[in-house]
Amino acid sequence: MTLPRALAGVRVLDFTWVRAGPWATRWLGSFGADIIKIEWPEHLDILRSNRTTIPPEIEPGPNAPGQFADTNINKLGLTINVRTPRGLELIKRLITISDVVIENFSSRVMRNWGIGYDVMQQLKPDIIYVSMAGFGHTGPNHHYTTMGPSAQALSGQTFLSGLPDKPPAGWGWSYLDDTGGMYGVMCVLTALHHRHVTGQGQHVDLSQMTAGITLTGSAFLDHTANGRQARRQGYPPGNRTAWPGTPPAPNYRGPTVAPHNAYRTKGGGHNDWCVIACFSDREWQTLVDLMGHPAWATDARFTQLSGRLQHQEDMDGGIERWTQTLNKYELTEKCQAVGVRAMPVQSAEDRVEHDPQLKARGMYAELEHPLLGRRKVQGVPFKFSKTPAEVRSPAPLIGQHTPQVLQETLGLSLQEIREGYADGTFWPKSMPLYAYIEEALR
């Protein structure tokens, strides 16, 4: 029996590229929407040209990067030159039969192409248009551009990560591309429900940088209501809730407790670390019991929270002497068995190969990709009782579905499609056609 899809029948015209936008439409695809990814080979999606995730045995090319393949599952690939009159006319026809248009260009690109929101609205009065520019489409700096790292810096996200008196540690990936993508999905689904209720479409003008600021709310209010400066001694306190020897101040993560830190575990490798947190004196005593009552730990200095906060250096040193005798998974099991909060620091390899929970939940199923072969793919973090979110189809090869989409959605004849290839509308005349496209044109 085929289970229903939550977004069956919803068509999304997807102009997004790089990471934030494609990560958004990946989720719309997993809910069952039809995603038509618009590309042009002369302006390749950066994820198609970045070589760092191409398997060593695969010949480099736009279909080879693993990161593109994982980010763009559940989509159809259409190549079309929007900068030609014929290409623009067909894009406009696609808009008239779509529910959603989504893009993450800088603020003026769509208007410059002649398909700004005013034009879209004329073509399809109830269209939902989600734009995902770094600074949004209004305001004096709307022309500024961001990538994840600069959006994180400007939003305050970078500042709140690191050790005191050191450079910011920031985020070791484009957190606001992932999260900007999540906001893109949220905007689409919210506007879609609104349209279901009112019959009206709208323009949702998302700003990636601004989204990051909304995730610093406690720090924001501490500044606006209490006037507390974030540039202060002992902040940010690394993995701790407070830095010893500095004036007590909020950490914006949760309650001020100790221990609350990362500790080395057996093996000594780059990711042989665990974290332990005790939220009460009772949890601390349980940890002391578990460590076998070492003499240092029974010192009265550590019995109460105030003492543990003050003497964190000695306490953390003592805890680490114990954690280094265990591997991070043994340690996690021992701690959790008695109710002590502990977890392994997990690398990507750990998550894919060693995490028993992700394995039990089926997070990394395999999917066949026409070039890359059978590979694991990142799954979905929720289980629906009626409309399962799915990993359905591999990322499109560039232009893989151009003939199919044009036939099925706009009713173009094979002859018209061949003419579009001949005149450079569907593929640059200067570039050779892939065999899979020639095959589709026979």
């Binding site: 939550a6 977004l7 809910f31 760092t52 995730t53 990161q67 980010t71 208007r111 209004t138 305001g139 709307h142 790292p149 600069s150 959006a151 810096a153 500042f159 709140l160 050191k166 910011p168 540690a169 985020w171 070791g172 990936w173 484009s174 591309d177 999905v185 919210t190 429900h193 609104h194 709208q202 003008d205 600021i213 995730l215 709310g217 720090a219 209010l221 500044h223 209490n226 950490n251 914006y252 001020t256 609350h260 990362a262 780059h270 990711n271 670390w273 909060r341 502990a342 977890m343 997990q346 690398s347 990507a348 998550r351 894919v352 929970q357 992700l358 694991k376 990142q378 629906f384 979110a389």
Partner: protein, 426 residues
């Protein structure tokens, strides 16, 4: 394009989730998800234990005076919601909760797996009362699996989820540095974002089909999905990324992207090596020359890609010297004006004065009549031109809407409510 006229008209329109009623039985793990819905117009009824939820005991507090009605953290995460108190472990509390469920579109809960069913309030019991109900359980590890009952915290989720494995320092900056968990409570944000999209997908399905359903959402899985290229790098190349200061964890060592400025603040240039072409270098050098700091970079020899590549360390040193001698504000805005996607590493002090954010209506004044003041809250991530985001009220006081909901909506008398309050049911 959202033009000014639209924006003014839109101010009076209802939010996009108007008419959607959400029951929130969520602590720090899920209260942000319900805030996102409430600020977009949903009628979120936050159900706290009698006396208030423990999230009210988390600082910072207004004027640093700890009090359950002064937690700024609680204030931020609970805007636009109504608040009632109810103990679902009492017979009367259960009955009131069941009656509320019949009025709800969405129920979001973050209790340990098995707790709601143990009270007779699992999805299987609630769905017959309201087949259109969408119930989402957002828990640290999901409803099944060997870790489902494990204790957790924001720090623990960021360790297991892979965030810490990517964040930290180059040994040159901090020898033997630990992996770093970024602050701000982001494990709960990540979980709440995924819960939001799951719930809204189910709402959209219900709009069409009329059917509710149950969603089992896992914070751990949400975090495990939020490390960009780390997992694909492993899957496709077998390599594991290493932590670097303030830039992408990577298999190979890369050039720095953070530079100190004259005012002892930090600039982030996004890409290692500045991504320099001859044209970009020329624009940079002309700008640096305005400060008399271009050194030899205006020399014609740099108009060749080969010369640029042969002189990367020299160019990087000239740029580093340039940044160290100009203020942060000049550095990032100057870069943006010549097309560089650069950013200042800002703290709140700089953010609250940003005119761009001001013009986009980001600084929102929220009245708190009890303290006779209003406070500036962060505004919307996105502007909806036909159904605006707004904070409709400050976070609820403990049990603030008990009378309105239990008497006004469920028809209890004041005397009934008093008895229930005295017995600890509400």
């Amino acid at each position: 394009m959202t033009d000014g006229t639209n924006a003014v008209t839109a101010d009076r329109l209802p939010g996009p989730l108007t008419g959607l009623r959400v029951l929130e039985l969520a602590d720090e793990k899920g209260q942000f998800c319900a805030k996102l819905m409430a600020d977009l117009g949903a009628d979120v009824v936050k159900i706290e234990p009698p006396g208030g939820q423990q999230t009210r005991a988390v600082g910072p507090f207004l004027d640093d005076i700890p009090h359950r009605e002064r937690s700024l953290s609680f204030w931020h995460y609970n805007t636009s919601k109504r608040g009632i108190t109810l103990n679902p472990e009492t017979v009367e509390g259960k009955e009131l909760f069941r009656r509320l469920v019949t009025t709800a579109d969405v129920l979001l809960e973050t209790f340990p797996p098995g707790y709601m069913p143990s009270l007779g309030l699992g999805y299987d019991e609630l769905s017959p009362l309201n087949p259109r109900l969408i119930m989402c359980s957002l828990t640290p590890f999901g409803q099944t699996g060997p870790w489902r009952d494990y204790q957790t915290s924001d720090l623990l989720q960021l360790a297991a989820g892979g965030q810490m494995g990517c964040c930290g320092y180059d040994p040159e900056d901090v020898p033997d540095a630990p992996p770093i968990a970024p602050g701000g409570g982001n494990a709960w944000h990540i979980g709440s974002h995924f819960a939001y999209i799951a719930i809204m997908a189910a709402v959209c399905y219900r709009d069409v089909s009329g059917e509710g359903q149950y969603i089992d959402a896992s914070v751990h899985e949400a975090c495990a999905l939020t490390t960009e290229g780390a997992v694909p790098t492993y899957i496709y190349t077998g390599n594991v990324v290493q932590r670097h200061t303030g830039r992408a964890a990577a298999v190979e060592k890369s050039e720095p992207t953070q530079f100190i400025t004259r005012d002892r603040a930090w600039l982030n240039t996004t890409r290692s090596g500045f991504n320099l072409t001859a044209a970009r270098l020329r624009r940079l050098a002309e700008w640096m020359d305005q400060y008399g700091l271009a050194q030899d970079l205006l020399d014609e020899k740099y108009q060749s890609t080969a010369t640029i590549q042969a002189n990367v360390p020299h160019i990087a040193a000239a740029l580093e010297h340039f940044f160290a001698n100009i203020p942060l504000e000049d550095a990032w805005r100057g870069g943006q004006e010549i097309g560089m996607p650069w950013g200042a590493i800002r703290s709140m002090a700089e953010i609250v004065h940003d005119p761009h954010l001001g013009e986009r209506g980001f600084f929102v004044e929220v009245e708190h009549p009890e303290v006779g003041r209003s406070f500036t809250y962060p505004g919307p991530a996105a502007l909806y031109n036909r159904s605006p985001w707004r904070i409709s009220r400050r976070a609820p006081l403990i049990g603030e809407h008990n009378y309105e909901v239990f008497c006004g909506e469920l028809g209890l008398s004041k005397a009934d409510l008093a008895i229930l309050a005295e017995s600890g049911a509400v």
